[in-house]
Amino acid sequence: MEVLTIKQYEKTGILSLKDLTLPNDEQLKKGVAIIECVQEIPCDPCVAVCPVNAISMKDINDIPKIDFNKCTGCKRCVGICPGLAIFVIKIRDDNALVTLPYEFLPIPKVGDNITALDRAGKPRGNAKIVKVNRSNKTTVVTIEIEKDLAMEVRSILLD
């Protein structure tokens, strides 16, 4: 029998930071996309949508690779990704902006109060919505949160 090593995220569905390619502080200050898509699945719209060719793939099953130096943080890939797996993070002096895809009703509005949730759906404090865009029925929401939570918060619950 073949020896099966099952990765933690294959059991839980939750990625850890070790599974991801992360940008450096400089790049985070500029605002860049974090791609949380780590399996070889037949999918590539993120590559085609990026206006500066920051995302690349050898073939359709390859894992998307991002060049953080090219990425401008324009958020287009956030709205197109069918896996809802791309987030844009921008670290500022005293807080962070997290942009995430949101596909529930009602459609959030700028100024709405929300509870920030992490990858396991655990509440990680309150935040405000600072920006809302709509792209192909996916709402792309930007929230303002504490700096330390920028790599943790990946979902929201409207209050």
Partner: protein, 415 residues
């Protein structure tokens, strides 16, 4: 089920009407009112008939029409064109060419508009093919069309047939699986996304493949509470991106767990789960109760091949295909000349690959009838695209499936 005294009705595709009477049927059905049936029979002659208007069937029709085939008939028993696509409210994976990032339902509308804009394609909905026969010169299909003034029997004579009938959902055997509230995931998706009906308030999902994960997420979107997803295997079978979406909404996924039974008085009131060991046996003492009013089963699909069997196409059991499938060559032709298969009917896969297989089948059927516009070049392109989709780790199953089918085609191998 019996609907308005008519037995053997598939209620899942019967539109709801005022004062409709739906009864459970536990024996061979008998017609009480024979007048309901339209006595006028109809005969239709066409070049190609396509059974099933899912992504495979629609692409087959469009492609054959582009080759210049003068009369194509697209038949579907549903009242909507599009097959599985009409209920898929999520964005599709795949490549730019197969419209990745587009939602299934938007894709259905786009393809439907293409089908409707071609004069040589006639589509016939609410029509079930109930039998098919392989004649000397042509193939004969028997269809029943549901009309307001009674059902009509139609005889379709066609030079070539493409079966793109999709698949059926698998069920699990456990005590209580016949209680109202136990659904197939596809059924739940139809209720929510086609008819706008919530299946219940609190759902237990069984199966963490892509279908289980996606339907769980769509339940959340519809405002239904999903208690958890259970999966008998030690790992999640679907894409991590789908699992991650659920997890960050707070839905737990229990791998190495299965459903033992469902209990309730006349309807689902809860389920008993049990942990599973490495040899897939339940671990005694690990039972736990979950209260819920809906249990949703998403444990795979089986290709629909009954018509293919009837017409005499050679079939084989191929585990990776999801059951018995008609074996076919690399142009999607079965062992019966002029009879083709495409999409989930030829092995469970995806809408993207169903579309490409449909294109292959459409081109091949057209070529056989003498219509050929760069057919060879196009076939090569489609085969290459299929290879691409099947080259990653999630494409292993369909890849092996198609390799086995090719083996069987070339003389056969015992598995």
């Amino acid at each position: 089920m019996t609907v308005d005294n008519v037995p053997n009705v598939r209620t899942c595709i019967t539109p709801l009407e005022e004062n409709i009477r739906v009864l459970e049927q536990d024996r061979v059905g008998e017609l009480s009112n024979k007048k309901k049936f339209n006595r006028k029979r109809k005969k239709i002659d066409v070049d190609i008939v396509i059974v099933g208007s899912g992504p495979a069937g629609m692409m087959a029709a469009i492609t054959a029409a582009k080759q210049g085939v003068p009369s194509i008939l697209l038949v579907d028993e549903n009242h909507l064109i599009g097959g599985q696509l009409v209920k898929q409210s999520h964005k599709f994976f795949g490549s730019e060419e197969e419209k990745a990032g587009t939602r299934g339902i938007d894709l259905a509308v786009e393809l439907m508009e293409q089908v409707n804009s071609v004069k040589t394609i006639q589509s016939m909905l609410k029509t079930t093919i109930i039998g098919c026969y392989n004649g000397k010169k042509n193939h004969k299909l028997i269809a029943i069309k549901r009309l307001i003034e009674g059902d009509q029997l139609i005889e379709i004579n066609s030079k070539s047939v493409i079966f793109a009938c999709g698949a059926m959902e698998n069920m699990l055997a456990f005590p209580g699986n016949d209680l109202p509230g136990v659904y197939g995931a596809g059924g739940v998706q139809t209720l929510m996304n086609v008819y706008g009906v919530k299946p219940g308030k609190k759902v237990l999902m069984v199966g963490a493949g892509n279908v289980g994960l996606i339907v769980s997420y769509q339940l959340l979107q519809a405002g239904v509470n999903v208690d958890r997803v259970v999966e008998i295997l030690p790992k999640i079978g679907g894409y991590n991106v789908h699992a991650a979406k659920l997890r960050r909404c707070g839905v737990p996924i229990y791998t190495s767990h299965s459903i033992k039974e469902v209990y309730g008085n006349g309807k689902v009131e809860g389920a008993i789960l049990v942990a599973i060991n490495n040899s897939f046996k339940p671990i005694p003492g690990t039972e736990q109760k979950v209260s819920c009013d809906t249990v949703c089963i998403a444990v795979g699909l089986t290709p629909s091949i009954r018509l293919l069997e009837q017409i005499g196409a050679k079939t084989e059991f191929i585990a990776e295909a999801g059951g018995h499938v008609a074996i076919h060559d690399s142009s999607m032709q079965t062992s019966v000349k002029g009879v083709y298969v495409a999409g989930d009917s030829s092995g469970i896969e995806e809408a993207s690959t169903a579309m490409i297989e449909g294109q292959l089948a459409g081109i091949s059927a057209a070529t056989l009838l003498g219509y050929d516009k760069q057919a060879d070049m196009l076939k090569k392109k489609y085969r290459k695209a299929l290879e691409g989709f099947r080259s990653g780790p999630f494409g292993i199953k369909p890849k092996i499936c198609k390799e086995k089918i090719a083996c069987c085609w070339n003389g056969g191998i015992n598995y």
